[in-house]
Every structure is written in C-alpha cells, then in structure tokens.
Symmetry: C2
Subunit: 319 residues, 2 copies
C-alpha cells in the first residue's frame, strides 16, 4: 500500500480508462454520491467508467443513478470509494479484493488493501475528497455531478448536524449549489420525508417510552404487533433508534426492537459521552462509542430488564 496525494490520485485516474468504481455493500448516500459523481466526471473526460456494488441501490437515489447510463466493459482500473475494509465488499465484489488500484476513503480505520490510497480521516464525507479530486482533474462540474457530491456530504454529516460537518463541508455545499446542486430537493428526500407508516409506528413506539436512572436512560419498544398495525417495514423504522437519546437529560437511549419470535434487537445511543459499545458488548454485540447494538433473547420484559440493568451499571461506572 502506498499513500498518495490528491493530485497524484487525479493524475492516476486521468491516465487510466475502463474504470470500475466499487461501493460497499448496503450502499449509503456517501458511497453512492462518490461512485456516481466520480464516474460522471470520468465520462466527461471521455473515459468508460461504471459504479459497481454487491447490493441494489435504493430507489430514492434515482435522481443520481438515472443520470448515468449503464456501460458494459471489462474493468482495467479498479477504484474503491468510502470503503474502509475488503470485508465490506459483499459477495459480488469478492473477486476484486486483491486488485484494487486506487482507494479514496475517509475512514481513519482504512485497512490499506489498495495498491494506492488517499485517506483523509478528517473529512466529514468521502464525497468531499472525491470532489477535490474531480476539481483537480479539471472536469467541468455539472448539475448531476453536483447533486451526487452534495448527496454524499449531506447524508454523511446528518444534514450538517453531526460533529463531522466542518466549515469545509458547508463551503463545498455552497459551491455545489452554485454549480447546480438541487440542495432543497435532496435534503427533502433524505431528511424530510416520512411515510405514513413511519409516522404511525414512530408514534406507537414513542407511547412506550419508559425512563430509568433518574431520566438518564430512556427505552422505547418496537413490536411486531406495531409493525402489523402500522404496515411499517424495516425501511420505515430506520433511524427511530435515534429518538430516545434526543430526550432532554437522557444519556443512554435504548430501542428494543422485536424480531423473530423470542429475539430482540437492541440499539443503544449516546451523545458520545457514554460508551454504549461496552454496554452492547455485555450481550455479545458492539459498535461505536455513540451507537451500538446487540441481540437479546427471551420475552420483551426480560430483554428490557436485562439491557436497562446493564445500562445502569454503565452509568455508575460498573461496566
């Protein structure tokens, strides 16, 4: 593995053709924005370029994906974006594990699997790095490229709300709007649209809110009965686990999500001041300091009791 500069990455891309840009499995807005934005830019330089992924891209990104007609060719230069580890390639991309030419990433934890890498852990979104490289390739940035890159930045920074949203993130967003990015439309799709089923299940889940440890722990439940009643699917419940932590005074927000009979998926969230990954590790799970998960078997009440008991210990420093 060799670390290269943004300029060198731009040069490598400019000197190659028949480029495949790999995304991680379950691709999110940043992965999609980077891969499609980069391919659009490379095509503007007359090259063949195509994003590839083990999973299907959600329809909500149609405004990006529909702007890049499919090209079929044998990949000669393999690039990855927003991809920290070959374990995230997924089945379809397995075959590229040992032949990645260039990796563009913003995960400090990047395993260095590529021949050449540009990794900037301080970058809020990988799309910010891709944007810099596209500029260095002297591509005339159009609305579609701007939309793709803006999507990467706004989704990975939680609509500029997370701590990774820097002055650079905001400044690039401004430039991208000048270049045609439809920021209002994109933010609305990504952050401001809820299905009726989502509103309904959110409401049902919120009605189950219980507080423990003097209000420092909040727990909500999502049951299969609520799914039936609201018609909500997994896509509708995305992000609900962030709600209990938002309640004033709450240090640990817990969501107990009923899955197949007898199994409860637990999501724990903190503001980063309490380590919930150690909480979930008690039950064989894990994650980040501010967001972690585990699975507990049993019935709803006993699952709740177990996770709350452990959470109380985390708060008092016993775990």
């Amino acid at each position: 593995m060799k670390t290269i500069t943004l300029n060198e990455a731009a040069k490598s891309l400019s000197q190659n053709d028949d480029i495949l840009v790999l995304m991680h499995k379950s691709p999110d807005g940043d992965a999609i924005g980077c891969a499609y934005g980069l391919c659009m830019a490379l095509r503007k330089l007359g090259k063949k370029a195509m994003p590839v992924c083990s999973d299907t891209v959600s329809e909500k990104y149609d405004y990006i994906t529909s702007k890049l007609p499919i090209q079929s060719f044998e990949g000669k230069y393999i690039v990855t974006v927003d991809l920290a580890d070959t374990r995230l390639f997924g089945e379809k991309l397995e075959k590229y594990k040992d032949c990645v030419d260039l990796c563009i990433d913003h995960h400090g934890s990047n395993t260095g699997y590529a021949r050449e890498s540009v990794v900037d852990g301080a970058s809020g979104a990988c799309a910010q790095i891709v944007y810099k490289i596209i500029r260095l390739m002297n591509v005339d940035i159009d609305r579609d490229i701007a939309n793709a890159i803006f999507t990467g930045i706004c989704t990975d920074t939680g609509c500029f709300k997370y701590s990774n949203a820097s002055a650079e993130s905001y400044r690039m967003a401004a430039e991208l709007i000048d270049e045609g990015a439809e920021s209002t439309f994109i933010n609305r799709i990504m952050f401001d649209t809820k299905s009726r089923a989502r509103i309904e299940i959110e409401c049902l889940a919120l009605q189950t809110t219980e507080f423990y440890a003097d209000g420092k722990i909040a727990v909500i439940c999502i049951t299969n009965e609520m799914r039936r009643q609201s018609g909500a699917d997994d896509y509708d419940t995305e992000g609900i686990s962030g709600i209990p932590r938002q309640i004033e005074g709450v240090k640990i927000g817990i969501t107990v999500n009923e899955r197949e009979s007898g199994k409860f998926k637990i999501s724990a969230r903190s503001a980063g001041d309490v380590d919930v990954s150690s909480l979930c590790a008690v039950f064989g799970g894990g994650g980040h300091k501010a967001a972690a998960g585990c699975v507990i078997e049993g019935d709803l009440e006993s699952a709740k009791k177990k996770i709350v008991g452990a959470a109380e210990k985390v708060l008092t420093g016993k775990i």
Copy 2:
C-alpha cells in the same frame, strides 16, 4: 418609510447610540440571533445596545443571552429585527410602534412601519442580513457573535433543510464556523434535543393526523387538552408544524393549534412548490411561500374545515 441599503443601515447604526433592538413576541432563533448578535457587535463599537422583547427568551438560548450583560438606559435609537409587522411587537413593546428608526427584516410582507427599512425577502434568515451589516460596520466578529448569527441561520433554514437555505446560507455558515461558531453544539441543542413534554405532545398531535385531497393535504391538531395532558408549553410545540408536510405525498401540511378559547393558530407549510402565504392571506394572515400562518376563530372542527377548504382551492389554482 424609506428603503435603504445595507451600507446606509450600517452607517445609521454606526452614527447612533443607546440602541434598543426589538424582537417579535415568542422570539425564535432568528429573532434572538439577530438581536443579540447585533447588540454584541454594537457594543464592540463602544455603544450601549440592548435586545428587548415582550416575552422571555427560552433557556435553551442561554449560550447566547448569557454572553450579553444587561445594560439599562433610555433607548434613543430603535431598531427592529426579523419583525414584519407592529402587530407582532407584543404588549411590552407597544410603545415603540410609531418610533422605530430602523427595521432589518427578511419578510417580503414587511409592512414598512419603520422610518428606514432594509428588507430582503430572498434572505433565508434575517441573521444573514444582520451578518452583512455587522461586517459593513467593520466589527471584528468573535465566537459569541458567530454563535448568535449561526443560530439565526440554522434555525430559520431548518438546519439548512428548507428551500430558503441558499448557497449564501451555507457559505455564511462556513465563515461563521471559521470565526468560532460552535455549529455542532448549536445544531444539537436546536435540532437534536426534545423535552419529555415535547415527545408526548408530538405523539398526541400525530394521532390526530387527517388527510385530504388524495393525501396532498395533511392536518394535525394541538389542543389545550393536549397541553394539559403533556405539560407542554409553547417552546415544546415549536417546530411541530413542520411535521405534517414531511409525510410522503403531502403538498400542504397544516397545524391547527388551539389558543385562547375560540381561537386557532393555523400554521401552513409547503415544500416551496405551493404558495401557503396566499392560503393564509385568505384569513388575514401571511408569511413566506413555504411557511405561513393565520388565526381562525370558531370551534376546532369549523376552523379545520375552513383552512382545508381554502387549501383545496390553492391546490386547484382557485386561490
């Protein structure tokens, strides 16, 4: 009323002293950010300056308000910010109705009550105009001013999500972060923290959701009974009016908010594609294209019927 330029406004402010900066009743983040940010800047020029409001400023803005020690003086130059109409002065500020020297506002509907006015209806937040004026006064912008102005911009643009968030909004946010604005902290307080009472009343309000016009209109209600039940105050219900519009397929989101007996405050929201200010104008109200309000008297059902009837006409182009 005389319309003046940003430069002239900066000059007027520079040439005067003992300045009172008036906020509208029930002050929001933009009003507070503008008033406090401007007063901080004026004090840096050695002037006496104090924000005034008919209502108390919520504690969640302590990080702004605590940075401006109270000054007591007889106001000699009266300024209003983010204040479209003297009807929004509230009781305590009544006495200033006919003696406002300078109005700085971003409501196109501004009634022109001041001797001199700078109104830019294209500005996402009034704080963007105030920021320009502060810069023109050659004030060295510090962290506290940056925090105040950033708060105005992020709250009025819904964390940069609404259609009024322009490239300028993002660019100024970037500059303010460079100048010390604690964007992550502010965004967390403003958009990622909910009181228990808020969670409860949001849930109660969502249970009242009704759809009209093939799902293009969604209406929710907030009643005094819900306030009693949840213990929610006006601050707790702030922003709830944004929810009905978020529902998939909804063009006009309406919140019917019961006030004193027999009066209903209506908030209407669109994604900017439908003009809700003309909808509210039917009932003597107004606002922006994407966010407007009015008051309807009567009982809940008749208020709902009236606003929905008018909203249906707006959708079919009859209003």
